[in-house]
Amino acid sequence: MARLLSPPAGLPVITLRPLSGPRAATSGASQSVAGFVQTTALPFGMWRWQISFAPMHKAMFRRYRGWVTALHGGANATRWSFFDPDKMSPREAGLNVSAKADWTGSAYDRNWSNGEPWSSGCGWKMSPPVVPVVESASRDDTTVKLSVDFWGHDLDVGDYIGFMPFHLGLYTVTEVFEPGSYRIWPPLRKAVGPHDFATLEPVLALRLEGEDSASADRGLVVAESLSVTMVEVLDYDVREYFAD
């Protein structure tokens, strides 16, 4: 009964705010007589995001409020293609294009093989290439090895990556051991192997963290100050609980 929903196409995201996750539960600090402070926390972290949207109206707002309602305060989850505005440029990602090219520009759009564009007049956009994983890593591992293709050896601290196909999870590189071998956080939500690919466009599953964690205020002219606060749903939980 619980479902995995797709967010409406074209949601205008304006703010992505990472919040502290479940590691904060039972965290604390104790101080010795000499003033030495030892901090404690739970070890198992998860993503928790507050996502704000630009003012919207008409069809876009109808789709938005439908999506928010269908999430039912956490009963349903949503797949979220994580859009990273600071993603590496097409040139940095290993494509043979001008250094000025960006992912949203139309200079490198491709039409269909018969030369026709889509009915909107636009062609196919560029998207970041995917890179094969070269070494298997099991669930909860924090080290991944990628092949030398495209950007596989060019990642650095802070890059967001994900894996495909059929892998829900957003990971950030926290250490580069050597080009192609990285430490990631959070630990892998699902095992990866040589048949998997790393991608710069990760998809993770999120759900609302409570009944009042989404807003859908409609003002006089537009719906504004819209935001949702969502927490990650682990890959295996999606398969067990949200796959109906």
């Binding site: 539960a25 039972t26 926390a41 070890p43 909860d140 430490r183 295996y236």
Partner: protein, 192 residues
Amino acid sequence: MAIFSPADLDWLARPHIARAWFLELDLPEGVRRVHNGTGRKTIGGHEWLGVTDPMGGQIVSMANVEEPRFGQAVAVQVTLSGANKEFFKAVHTNARELEGRRADLFWCAFDPETEEVWPRGLVKLFPGRISSPALRWEGIGIRTVSITVESIWSSQNYQFGGKWNDADQKRRYPGDKGLMYVGVKVHETWGN
């Protein structure tokens, strides 16, 4: 025997410790393994289920754990909040079956970054038994079930050789009336 070796203590003296509690409950319907974090973790060959909800609220809370010592009966209080009617009824029905079952409390530290288990692994800190569960109603919406886990050492926490009272003396030497009046207030009336 100390629970933690000097090497463990060195490790635990770090400025930041990420740790969690692991509870192995031998329930009538099977062995349940839970921990007070989130997600499923495989440690020591078993999968443990996280019972803290991801928003940081705790479904299960646990009172302080004391080291069992001579002269005191230690127990750990585990409280499950948000119990629904069915669960409440189930606990009520199965209360007698629950009593005396095994409940071992483990403790484990982790590498805060990689979530890897520390060199010592799971440490069984509190081997215990489940005592009778307590059901609590509060207002219209709060229902909690708490289970007291008693240390197996607390039952051995009696004075060595028994006490100097009548019951223990009769246990030692059946029929001996020697301590019959120990601890008893005796009123003697002298003849007038």
